[in-house]
Amino acid sequence: MKRVLLIVVIVAMAFVFSANASAANPVKIGVLVPLTGIVAQGGLEMKYGIEMAAKEKGTILGRPIELVVEDTQIKPDVAVSKAEKLVFKDNCVSLIGVFSSGVGLAIAKNIDRLKVPFLTTHVMTTAFYGIHKWVFRSGQLANDQTAVGNIKGILARPDLKDRTYYVIVHDYAWGHDAGKRFIELAKQSGIKIYNENFDKAPTSTKDWSSYISKIKASGADGIYIAFITNVIPVFAKQASDFGLQKTSKIVSAAAPGPVELEEGGEACYGIFGASDWSWDVNTPVSDAWEKKFWETYKTIPSDAAVHSYVGAMNLFNGIEKAGSTNPDKIADALRGISFDGPYGTVRISAFDNCMRNDAVLTETMAAPPNQFGAKVVMKVLHTFKAEELGPPEK
């Protein structure tokens, strides 16, 4: 009898200890964001969004979430070695984040070796559609979706429609893709393009005066830019110094960062562009999220933060749904999953692993009184339904 009792006690204790060990054993998620270099502010906002989602979600599979954050320095080689560290050393079960298309493509190329699902919240290149069974996008609109939104926006507005557009992009994978997508659609829609062989400026460009003089000399009265978000206000400010905005309208392939817009002030008024979200979106969910973000981080909520939050929620819910940290099971669970967040339902397509969601066309202008004390707002002009932006799922 004593022996039986002893065995029961040992089994019970083993069960209790293993349960405790499981509860204490966190689900590790590798967060890859740029925290140094030209887009450090955007990277910080992405990190905030993912942190906020982790705090809100609390646990996955009954275990706490542990975010392991690494700085990609927006360099593909650095990002790949950081991803290796996150997976092989830290035992992260999934990777999330990544700001640039070049970095995203580098991680995607190595995913068979890394053997974990990777969900990007920021990469916009169209090359990500169906790129790999373990690679997903739930974040910023892709280049084709942004181009559709911008073309529809241009056609809908008389002050944008009858202009000739000068196209200038940042010289890397995303910029090239964004420029091409816009020009293809513009030509189909009858919008005039000045330079089909568009300009490609190095990402390190600080002095835009030569490009601005070139735009002035072209006589184009519309400018389509595909610049890293933080650089948009820098270009707008220099264009304003030359008086370019008096004759030309700027349409952007990416949403400018709100912190940088504040710095640029009036020089940044009049930038149009399609994006997922702006703090001008007035729905109860969006308003509540903005309030919580502001109270936590004292930073104006940005679209970089909000789509990182939404992407993280989709990933966390996907792992929960998978009931396991097996990469194939997580990937299966992510296909078709959706999350209702600040910009409506964001669904990851089971067809190509990339999200579909509603979006907005915005114009930057003087902000009305607001809780953030912001002077510039990306005013919502129009809301696009997900089906309008595509791409088709067949």
Binding site: P202, S204, S209, S210, S213, V234, G243
Partner: protein, 288 residues
Amino acid sequence: MSTAVDILFNSLVLGGVFLIVAIGLNIIYGLSRVMNLAHGSLYAVGAYASVTLMSFGANFFVALVIAPFIVAFIGLVLERTIIAPVRKRSIVYTLILTYGLMFLLDGLIRYIWGNEPRFVKLPLFLQDTLPILGTHYPVYRLATLVIIAATMVALMLFLEKTKTGITLRAASTIPEMVSCLGINMKLVHIGAFVLGCGMAGIAGVVAGPLYSVDPTMGHEMLISSFVVIVIGGLGSLRGAVFAALLIGLVQTLAEFFVTDLAMVIVYMLMAIILAFMPRGLLGEGRFE
């Protein structure tokens, strides 16, 4: 015509900023034999110092005077604490030290001022454009040319006409003789380093309103100023003037006409000059 005027002014402004940064780098190398890889970061510190001064209510011109002194003072502290102890060793020591210093200063900039770009608020009269030879050119860019010209004139007068300046020049060519004359070479080295840092500070303040102020602004500028001093001849002040104007013009023209290859052309020019004129455009460069 208006486009040609734009290109001319753009190249002068770009070349002018390169010149002030490169002259500072050249003074430090020529007089104290230190290749200062933290020079770009000191240029950024100058820009941030002006932003901070202006946030406390100083106007741009006050910031233009005070910020370079702040950078010069930082230069003095760095020289005494980090550079001086290894001055007698190989130049590689100071090269590595200043490389580390660059990362330290960049980290401090991020810690103090954050990651986002800052824009310098100029007085209203500098925010306008001026009709000139068929184009409307920003007033501040024209003012920049005046500031750069005034800085260069002041520097040349200091080096040519004052006893201290003459001593500094002599020390750059015949340091042993100057030392034998009883002149304290330690003070010469300190003076050169502080003066060079001050020049980086001036360039930072001037460049802030032209571009924007951000933590990475010094990196590209350091590379460009190295291109200038290589083309002008290491240690040659006159060579740096010609090289800065040349690079400003070539880069502006290349960005305008062959946009995608602009920087390739600049670096090819440097490689050609390095191959065929290793002592720079005027043949005044000193190599060790």
